[in-house]
């Protein structure tokens, strides 16, 4: 495992860079959005313009931008995400409270998406240019293009209101997770299916599969041992890249199914210009994204020995 340290070290350095970059982008992008946070907090309560100005100074918003940035980056470096202006509570703790339900939803949706997407993709590739391919591809397109707020409502109307199989909203065990995970997973499965279909089709036509077939290996064995293993890598990479999409989709899904989660926290914070919370969610989201992709890369390297040689 001599290659391990160098590879992991470089990847770690890259991860820190990505984190710094997203924290910095979050800071300056939010500074560009119009609207004064102090005014948003106090206007409806009948505060005077002077009182709003006092609050702005209290929040440090009158300090030079560079000073605000340095203070913020240094704090993040120490793991301190600051305090919410709206709630007055530590951002880190607020995010931790919401992280669990979002992770649960994202993981369940990921499983649904991968299983469904892979199945559709493989079916379509193996039965290329038949009605199975058309149907599977059509399903993938539907999944890809149906917004979750719509499919979510349809699912609630059908499974909760009409059939009464599953609860429509809230949390509390696996039953509550089924509908939101299916809805979000279905929309994820579209892009995975397309990727898997292309990969499997390519591998099916490649020399080593022809060779394997020529050696007389049964079709099923060729498919499951050789084709899938070779196709898994790129599919895995797409899935990891889709993690960002998943976090974004979770925002809407959480809202439709009245679940708590990071998404709702972020939306509320954006609406109120609660900048510490928005930045905190961005940084934590970037961290999760980096970790998931790191894991996917390591898994990919393990699955596909060619990669280890290249990177080692």
């Amino acid at each position: 495992m001599g290659m391990g340290v160098g590879y992991a070290g470089r990847r770690l350095l890259g991860a820190v860079f990505v984190l710094w970059l997203s924290a910095t982008l979050a800071f300056f992008a939010l500074k560009l959005t119009p609207g004064d946070p102090a005014q948003a907090l106090l206007a409806a309560s009948g505060a005077t313009a002077e009182e709003v100005a006092e609050r702005r100074a209290q929040l440090g918003l009158d300090d030079p931008l560079l000073l605000q940035y340095i203070r913020y980056i240094l704090a993040i470096g120490q793991g301190d995400l600051g305090r919410s202006w709206l709630h007055g509570r530590p951002v880190g703790r607020m995010i931790l409270e919401q992280l669990g339900p979002t992770a649960e939803l994202a993981a369940a949706a990921m499983v649904v998406g991968v299983v469904l997407g892979t199945a559709l993709g493989v079916l379509a590739a193996v039965r290329r240019r038949t009605w199975v391919d058309t149907l599977a591809t059509a399903l993938a397109v539907v999944g890809l293009s149906t917004p979750t707020y719509w499919s979510g409502l349809l699912a609630i109307l059908l499974f909760s209101l009409r059939l009464r199989w599953l609860p429509a909203t809230g949390e509390g065990g696996a039953r509550h997770l089924v509908l939101p995970a299916l809805v979000l997973g279905f929309s994820l499965s579209g892009s995975i299916a397309r990727m898997v279909r292309a990969q499997v089709a390519e591998v099916l036509g490649s020399a080593f599969v022809l060779a394997a077939r020529a050696r007389g290996l049964p079709n099923r064995r060729v498919l499951f041992v050789h084709v899938l293993r070779a196709a898994a890598g790129p599919a895995l990479a797409v899935t990891a890249l889709q993690f960002g999409f998943l976090l974004g989709g979770a925002v809407v899904t959480e809202s439709v199914f009245a679940r708590r989660g990071l998404g709702k926290l972020a939306v509320e914070a954006i609406l109120w210009r609660d900048l510490p919370v928005v930045r905190g969610v961005v940084v934590v989201g970037a961290l999760a994204y980096v970790l998931v992709n790191l894991m996917a890369d390591l898994l990919h390297a393990w699955l596909d020995p060619r990669l280890r040689e290249e990177t080692g």
Binding site: P37, Q58, G88, L161
Partner: protein, 522 residues
């Protein structure tokens, strides 16, 4: 001796149990706004008061039927001649849920907390107006001292934002107090999982409720609050039984629920400012009063109300909703729907369609108005209908949807033509937030010294008749000057499962009195 004590204890328990049977009912109450911070002294959201009005008691209460203030934690009070000193005589024997006794020190502790700059209060502090300090006279007498008279004070003190919190709990939990709130109310705060649920349990010791409560203790064992931010899911949650009460049901769902045997809609009209479109009086062409009046005559409110709100809320004709104290019905005489009059006014102001493109123009400039909308409160839908109604007259509208902080910035700088807003409150002093020249919501950018004077005097005057007269003048001036296009009065459509009975709301129409709620069999 020990035996004696034991017998005493047993008989006490038997007595207690027979006097106050433990309630068993439980309901799930759906909240609608994005859950923000919920410490009423700190936070400003209106949904926090829905659960917490039952956790905290206030010094006084306002009777929604009469508008009169009645005793709460204060059994009586006096206001000094000059309106600067309010003396409250407190009830004795009141205890917080954690056992801490309630007294004058506790009142001072609460008001000191609210006004402390460190707390960074977003609402409660400003509701106290020209507050100066609180003095403890004796154990059960407390004085609030103002620097100038402030008529809305009792109204403020009757709201949960100025509810009395246990000093012990506040000191113990510090920055995390909002997750561990302790009051003296009919329900105690059990837990709050942000974004998921908030749980209240009945307070068996409650015996000091205001006369507006019908029961001595709560009739439900527990009330669970859950959050339904997506309007489309509210009615399904009610129909699947996942919630028993749900506020802000969308109008089309409300119409459907009314026809169901299992649910009912209780529509509560809220006092405060109506939903109105502010017209920027400083930006041409709206600096011309004839153009502003033309837009008012060209607006068919009845169609808007029936199309978007399915006739569930009344059309508005002035800046206050019809159920607000001080509402002047005279505003209904202004600006009936009259497209011909609108066209005549525009022509008189020099606007004509000289190039035949369907849009009026003057000196080569087309009549295009910049309408800024926010994504909530059906503002985009209203904007769309207004644009369609005005298009017939040759008035073009370019609209954009922005966030609330951005709208505040736009409204303050006056870079809009039209910008709608609505806000609820029980006191007509709310007009000062919109039409005083220094107000943050002065989105009409009006500068009228007389209007400023009336609004300031009305805030200081405690004589109700004088206040009424002043607010009447204000409302008529606002409409005379065509500062706003009132659209509709805010009506909260509460969807309720028929097993739930006895739900009533406070004078603000927004905060439920859960103590009297009962549940029957399914």
């Amino acid at each position: 001796m020990r035996r004696c004590l034991f017998l005493l204890l047993v008989s006490a328990i038997v007595l207690l149990v027979s006097c106050a049977p433990k309630p068993e009912g439980r309901i799930v109450y759906g909240l609608t706004l994005a859950p923000s911070g919920i410490d009423p002294h700190v936070n400003a959201s209106s949904e926090l008061g829905i659960p917490l009005t039952s956790v905290y008691d206030t010094l006084v209460y306002q009777d929604p039927a009469t508008g009169e203030f009645v005793p709460g934690l204060a059994e009586r009070w006096e206001v000094s001649e000059d309106g600067l000193i309010y003396t409250f005589y407190l009830k004795k024997g009141v205890k917080f849920h954690d056992g801490t006794p309630f007294n004058a020190e506790a009142v001072r502790f609460n008001l000191d907390r609210i006004t402390s700059p460190d707390l960074a209060s977003q609402k409660a502090r400003f509701m106290l107006g020209p507050y100066e300090r609180t003095e403890v006279v004796d154990k059960y007498t407390v004085r609030i001292v103002l620097s100038e008279p402030f008529a809305p004070l009792l109204g403020s003190l009757s709201q949960v934002y100025l509810g009395m919190a246990s000093p012990t709990a506040v000191e113990e939990w510090g920055g995390d107090y909002q997750l561990h709130q302790v009051g003296t109310g009919p329900f105690s705060f059990v837990e709050y999982i942000p974004g998921d649920h908030l749980l209240l349990r009945y307070n068996p010791d409650y015996a000091w409720g205001p006369p507006v409560y019908q029961h001595r203790t709560a009739q439900l064992a527990e009330v669970e609050f859950r959050f339904f931010t997506d309007p489309a899911t509210r009615s399904p949650a009610l129909e699947t039984g996942e919630a028993d009460v749900m506020g802000e049901i969308p109008p089309q769902d409300a119409v459907r629920l009314t026809e169901s045997a299992d649910f009912r809609i209780e529509a509560v009209a809220l006092p405060g400012a109506s939903l109105m479109m502010f017209m920027n009086t400083t930006r041409p062409p709206l600096d011309d009063i004839r153009v502003r009046q033309a837009l008012l005559y060209a607006t068919d409110r009845q169609t808007i109300v029936s199309t978007i709100f399915r006739d569930t809320s009344p059309a508005a004709y002035g800046p206050l909703t019809a159920v607000t104290f001080g509402y002047d019905p005279a505003v209904q005489r202004y600006y009936p729907y009259d497209p011909e009059k609108a066209a005549a006014l525009l022509a008189e102001a020099g606007w004509a369609d000289s190039d035949g493109d369907g849009v009026l123009d003057r000196d080569g400039e087309p009549l295009v108005l910049d309408m800024v909308l926010m994504g909530w409160g059906y503002m985009p839908e209203i904007g769309q209908l207004l644009a369609a109604q005005w298009a017939g007259l040759g008035v073009a509208v370019e609209s954009r949807v922005v966030s609330y902080p951005e709208a505040l910035e736009i409204g303050g700088s006056g870079s809009h033509h039209l910008l709608p807003f609505t806000l609820s409150d029980s006191d007509p002093d709310i007009l000062r937030k919109f039409f005083h020249s220094q107000a943050l919501f002065n989105w009409s950018l009006v500068e009228d010294a007389e209007l400023d004077g009336w609004l300031e005097e009305a805030a200081r005057t405690s004589d109700p008749a004088r206040r009424l007269a002043l607010y009447s003048q204000v409302q008529q001036r606002v409409m005379d000057q065509a500062l706003v296009i009132p659209i509709r009065d805010y009506v909260n459509l509460n969807g309720i499962n028929n097993r739930v009975q006895g739900l009533r709301f406070d004078a603000r129409g927004w905060f439920p009195w859960l103590i009297d709620v009962t549940v029957g069999g399914q």
